[in-house]
Symmetry: D2
Subunit: 403 residues, 4 copies
């Protein structure tokens, strides 16, 4: 399965990206009190994306007509894992969240004009984008139906009002994709619409940053406010009141590409740990040969293999045009937890250095923690997985899961 | 992937096998003080195998010329899982351990004459067989090099001496495949040879049974003694002193088929638990809708999916003729533990009935426990997985694992 | 804390009880198709109780005036653990379930006449008893309010009707303590009354056995039917309609004594595993010195210590006359799971012999499994622990837990 | 057990310390490129210690003649837990690591003159101190015998050479307690001596900081270099060549006080999580009432109770003058892992806010991670616990553990 692009990405990451990552101690996002994005962060992104473009490896998941390599989901699994081997790999290949998911959404749900206007510059890396769904309490978080942001009908378009937070990449974004309620009340299962809002639209303000444990996503996470922000009719993505359905287009694949990238980083963590335990001794032996270290090493190998296998199974369903909702939900839950365990074990294997900045491991440890919460928390996914299992049982469809 | 044979097996198991399993409370093996096998156990096997043959589903994994359906390893994964959905399914399809592994070994390592003599009746279910490797301490257990049974060169053949225990199906076996030392000393990595010994050979005695938690394997487990038992030269399987290599032929595939069968039973356990929690109420709700039950249900769905995915990945390697040693070792370790967790959760979900004989769950709970020990304990596999990871790191081959 | 009685019990168990346990392969209860109890089981109990009485160690938890040693709860913790070191120890000391809990209940909730009539012979081991609470679905299981058995008022007493199952020791019981509804409907939080019913009362029938994984409790578990069984007024234990409150008297202490006994058995399992791994070799070392074995050994030491510490903390509360409800609920949940893990690890450390009858471990493994379900399942306890934590938070009483 | 000082500490922490902690976002240590300690960090410590002194709660563990309250170890357990309820509590009470452990060491191992010179100002908070044991590889880390720092005999004293890293509080320390080899070679079990070195001694240099995940310890962690640093004979703590023995005086109690403080923080994390889930809704219910949240809440209650119980059991041994080595090793291993689990669950319960700086949880999550590594990693403790269990088995002393 190690297709040729995978090996090219692997070499590129090792030779070009990792030296930059080490130079920067793995920090992409820098807190910044000024407007927009910290100049060093902006320059770093440009440096990485230039390198990816020069290597001919940018946006490999896109069809050839959009400048990509036209990879299947199964091929993406290998390529994205290879890119994720460095925290900076996905940025260099222009396949980082949330841009990669947004490109996927535009490709499959946007009109030709919308694609030309927004997908073209995104694919070229000329702009970056944000996806605005999560809201401060009591708005939508794990439960999408709690959506409170509103869009009111006005001549020629809509006026958006409400708050969104934890919005990644909102600063200096060219495009913000926003979910707002065009009918119904918070708690209703329908009534949402998706809007394409230029990042510099009037009535859209980045209020402040929401500082988090991670620093690997461009622009960090922000609190946005919409104050009667006008969006013309051609800014509606998909159909009015069908925003939750449109979100589904993005959901399962975006979950999986998250898994692919983080799996790459987990593999790196294991390699850093192996480098440590093969180089050091204690209690009369090489650390790598002590049984309690072997336990950690083996558990990680098992977690890596199971994560990879679950991702591939879901990718095969996507490639076959089958429903991958349950499979991607299972994969997301398992991989998010496995990646957390893996990086935690690697930190442990590296001892004091594992919690220091001598190695990149403590940075990775911080980066992967939110993954068990973002994109549906483990608890929300478990609840949904259990309900589907019960329903399948009641409808006599349990064996379908063993396809 | 649900090939047509899979659905036929599924129907056959549901309609024909499960009623027998329920009638017999899931007990195949009956302790017996007489010689040979308990008559009721013998009759039960015949009943099941007749049904499998009548359904045209016997030995589906064998090539067509040996009476099978010529399934690939990947196809076997689905079919064996469907068979394993009942404890009695594998017996009915003549794909139970150890016969299935022995047939595989004969198919790939035996001479045409040996195949005709032993594989033919095994494939037809006319005889059953045993595989004699494990020895009482200090002989071979987890560590194969500890092998102590000896074969001495005599004119025209060899004379075997030594003890083997935990030998499944030795009672009334037509064939016992035995590993004995033809050179070297206990502790040496080589010097083993594999012998095909008729079950009624002089000098081969079933000393006594070793009673264990499980009762799902035909004939139970025995302690065997070889007292200068003569085996002619044509009873050597493969080459002299190459027995460990010959054992490898059997090892990885047999591990995987174990995983496939037990995965089927784990799926059944989840279904029995779902039937329980959807039918009962407590604390003002249906049990299936209580959060703490949902946690168990979801965890099991995840374990089932990850087990299936790991098995398939290893099967694809086998089908591609690639080395599946590490993949099958990882799959075995994960699946054995996952199956244990799954059945344990199902017991818990069923409450008092889970530990009673009202349901089959407590029987399953006993049956799957040894799987974490047989076929290489979890600890032995972890040790080996860790060593390979360290070696791959040292040789710069870590990314090969992400094929 | 190793008070003198603890050491006497320890010696008694080692010298007198364990030889009997090994002789009988740890099986106390024998399935029996005849009426009453299997003669061998009856004889075995008598043999053990005679030995305990001869050693002057019977019912040590009772006050001196009832023939005991007047131990505090904290002292019981050590003595019961020492007794539990053999499956047969609690029977020998007449502190096995359910008699021990029933004696406690009678001591604290019965009238002087009731105590004289029932506690006297129970303390002397002349009779044994049962506790009838659990019912077949949809009756009371985890959720006590589901109680369906009814007692109707008749002149001079009550008439009981209903079914109870998983009733331990009901066969040949001298006394059956039964919970039945004297007012209200299934689902109501009150309205239960506790009755003392002679085991040979008219209208009380042992319908059949409910066979379970365990065989360590005298008389096994039965399904009982009450068909208008008459109980005179002096057979009411405590007050009418206050049966749930009376049950509380038994609940917390009985949970704890369960924990104490099973903790003893868990310690034995670790000792059997240590005996195995210190006597055998593999991979060039003693098994006890391999890292993956050390992990199991250490994890068990930690589980043993934490279990013991939790039991003692709850016992101290009982001795201080404080509410031990939450503490005993936490202890029960932790210890039941810890004991399960411990015995499972011991089985794993003993390899093939662990799942065989060569050692007592596979017997122990079966015996301890129901403990996570009986006496409130882990899920029910967690639900209750969480609710109390939330309530304490709301009422600003969280720090009280850190007493 | 909630002695009066515990309640005073609890009130003090809630009213005085937590407001400061919240104001400073839980950050005590600030990276600083200048010499010494960041002025804001120094001022913050002074503010906190002044408040603790004003409240009459400083150094409560010390004997009255040293300005403390003369608490027993068991009383300390409650008081230190109450102090640890805020990250800044231990600093305010002058019971933070490493000063608290150093004071204990001086109290029990120093000469009267040494105590007067060093313990007096430490107890008064006039100076702070460091403990220099860990060395860069291949020096001492988990394995103390690897000690490489050397002290050479010179007239009137010793000259120290070598490097130490991860030395907490070395910047501006009044006193650095250092372990160096006075005889033997790295790998030898003896030959170490403990020295009391003024922080401003010639030949002692703070080379650079070792940045780590945590920021709660004053002065952070540094790399120190000793270049022939002279220490007069009266700077030897305890006896020459007996440094490992002297270190034991500090080891078990310091491990336990770590546990006490971190347990306090874990309780706080649970309270922050409870505040979150009782205030927010989702899926039609209060989060606190969802089953999957209840699981986390209950698991944390169990972990808190078991941690507390293990700490107390070890404290009782210390108070009784008994060997608490194994008990404190078990407590440390369990508590460090339990605290990690607890804070991780609290983060998860708080969702997106859990990984943000909106709450203190993400800070706590970083702070507690190193505890599984510092003070003996979980792996080193497990290895040692297992070896002691095996030895106790061989010497027939296993039941002593059940004291």
């Amino acid at each position: 399965m190690a297709t040729e692009p995978t090996e090219r990405v692997r070499d590129f990451v090792r030779e070009t990206v990792i030296p930059v990552e080490e130079r920067e101690h793995g920090e992409l996002h820098r807190p910044y009190d000024g407007p927009g994005i910290h100049p060093r962060e902006r320059a770093l992104r440009a440096e990485l994306q230039d390198a990816g473009r020069d290597a001919g490896l940018a946006t490999p998941q896109l069809p050839v007509e959009w400048g990509g390599l036209g990879l299947t989901a199964l091929e993406q699994a290998a390529v994205f894992e290879a890119a994720g081997y460095s925290l900076f790999g996905p940025i260099a290949l222009n396949i980082a969240a949330p841009d990669e998911g947004n490109m996927h959404l535009l490709l499959h749900a946007a009109s030709p004009e919308q694609r030309e206007r927004w997908l073209r510059p995104l694919a070229a890396g000329r702009i970056h984008s944000a996806f605005g769904m999560t809201e401060p309490p009591p708005g939508t978080g794990s439960d999408p139906r709690a959506l409170t942001a509103r869009a009111e009908r006005v001549p020629g378009g809509w006026r958006l009002s409400g708050e969104k937070w934890f919005i990644t990449g909102a600063r200096e974004a060219g495009l913000v994709i926003v979910l707002a309620r065009t009918s119904g009340e918070p708690g209703d299962a329908g009534g949402a619409t998706m809007f394409l809002v230029p990042g510099d639209a009037d009535g859209l303000t980045v209020e402040r940053d929401v500082h988090t444990l991670d620093a690997g996503l461009y622009g960090g996470h922000s609190l946005l406010r919409f104050d009667g922000c006008f969006v013309p009719d051609d800014g509606v993505l998909g159909d009015v009141d069908e925003g939750f359905r449109a979100a589904q287009v993005r959901l399962a694949p975006a979950r999986l590409t998250h898994c692919m990238r983080w799996l790459g980083l987990a593999g790196r963590a294991q390699d850093l740990a192996l480098a440590h335990v093969t180089a050091r001794r204690g209690f009369g032996a090489r650390l790598a040969d002590l049984g309690l270290a072997q336990q950690h090493i083996a558990d990680t190998e098992i977690d890596l293999a199971a994560s990879r296998a679950l991702i591939r199974d879901a990718a095969r369903l996507l490639d076959a045009g089958q429903d991958a909702g349950t499979a991607s939900s299972i994969a997301k839950t398992f991989v998010a937890e496995a990646v957390g365990r893996i990086v935690d074990r690697s930190v442990q294997l590296a001892g004091g250095q594992g919690v220091s900045e001598e190695l990149l491991l403590s940075r990775y440890w911080r980066e992967v923690r939110p993954f068990r919460i973002y994109d549906g928390s483990s608890e929300t996914h478990r609840w949904s997985i259990a309900r589907r299992a019960v329903r399948a049982h009641e409808e006599g469809r349990r064996h379908d899961l063993a396809r």
